[in-house]
Amino acid sequence: MSLLEIQALGISFGGVRAVHDVNFSVEPGEIVSIIGPNGAGKTTLFNMISGVYRPETGRVVLSGETVTGMEPFRLAKRGMSRTFQNLQIFQNMTVLENAITGFHLQERGPVLADLFNLPGSRRRARLAEAGARALLARVGLERAADRDAGSLSYGSLKRLEIARALAMQPKVLLLDEPAAGCNAVETDEIDHLIAEVAASGVAILLVEHDMKMVMRISNHIVVLDHGEKIAEGAPAEVSRNPEVIAAYLGTEAENADG
């Protein structure tokens, strides 16, 4: 039994099949990348796995439990965490507070304790803050802790989102284009970070357009085209697969930055 199993997952919008009959599985410590041309259904697949969309067909099994269509916050309790393609940062908070929110499951407690600032509430908040500061240091944002999140650069926001997702100490981490819009140095940092997280035993599911990065760090690659899985396997195998090459060449001409 794998940590995360995706079985025959499918959904359609307004009669158009966005994702159809996709199967694969992820083991602890493994980095699985999902690639495919624009509009292949990668983000939709992510949204179904993470409970943002409710799949029409198929099942998502996490640690042996069927969690299909479960709301994101319930999945979070079961150890699933994610980042977003178009950033979902809490713009109305500081960088530190954004990171602390990642510790919500650990720091939450009775509302009354929070309202009256009881010692329990203060202790929980303190612990979460210490954890958040440590995480910010890990992603290189410790100096920006007290700045408004809205004032950070795009690359920094990407890292902040990863920090927030890591705060939950997830078993499975879904990263939707973590390196998009980042320069070479930043990409490199994120690259290392992902490898490090995986090495600690977290299963990572990655959507990324930077093929060099994907080929470098993935253990396993799933290729989507038009919502269907057309290939899967180790990076070297997949890059030689004629169907994959065709799918990419077909779109490369229209969309150079793929």
Binding site: S50, G51, V52, E71, P72, F73, L75, A76, K77, S81, R82, F84, Q88, I89, F90, Q91, N92, M93, E97, I100, T101, G102, H104, L105, E107, R108, G109, V111, D114, L115, F116, N117, S121, R124, A125, A128, D146, R164, A165, A167, M168
Partner: protein, 318 residues
Amino acid sequence: MRISGKYWTLIFLAALIAVTPLFFPSGYYFRVGSLLFVNGLAVTGIVVLTGYAGQISLGQAGFAGIGGYACALAPVHWGVPPALAVVLGAAVSGVLAYLVGRPILRLKGYYLSVASLGFGILVAMVLNNERELTKGPDGINVPDIGLRGLLSDWGLNLTNGEFWYALTGICLLIGAWIALNLQSSPTGRALRALHGSEVAASTVGIDVARVKIQAFVISAIYASVAGSLMALQNKFVTPDIAGFLHSVEMVTMAVLGGVASVPGAILGAGVLTLLPQVLTVLAEYEQLILGLVMMGVMIFLQEGLVPSILRWFRGRDE
């Protein structure tokens, strides 16, 4: 860093409440002060709901009505002491907010505002129509809270105006303290997170529906207590307290001053409480000016008075 900010705000507020009476030329100013504090308390509840959690309710006055009428009815019908009726009203408001909140907080933006608006109108309608109980649109007498007599037994003689100024001032301080506690607490962070992005809040494990209801219940209790204090102070209450205009007034006060922060919202309550008193000289133009102020502040100071002014100061420092 946040901690000291919180206590500075409270100390400043307490000093303001304690010192300004030294400059009051007549008892009327105590009345205006206590009005301001009651409005400030109601508006602090809006900060929790709208400022922190980002949910817009146009039915808050419904809870003020429940609080107000609890003080009118419970002492007469069930012999509850008026001071305890405040707690009873708050409890009823909280439970009702929980029951009503479950379905309507699923809605977003304008749909949420129309649903909450409907709730407020329903409460006002019941208060208007159930004449047997509420005496209808002409209003109903509210018994004296009785605490003033108690204080004078202890040798503290206050005029009615002074007593209410002090009582509502203390209530406002407590209310502000609680809301400020919440802001930097785990629950408060969860509320502000869902304001920022509901889907991201959910992915970090925040039960969005649950914390939304918590915010709604908390803000309902604030409105209810404010309504109770208003009714007890006036010794009289009419269904207008639950009316749409009162709901709009509360939201306007909060947004005008800066809905994301407690001091901002209280300042907004101050401005809109004082404005009509200042404008009596120009009574005919009151509406005109009120409308202009509302539009002007929202156009030029979109975050409200306090945040915009703070930003301006900060901008000058740099």
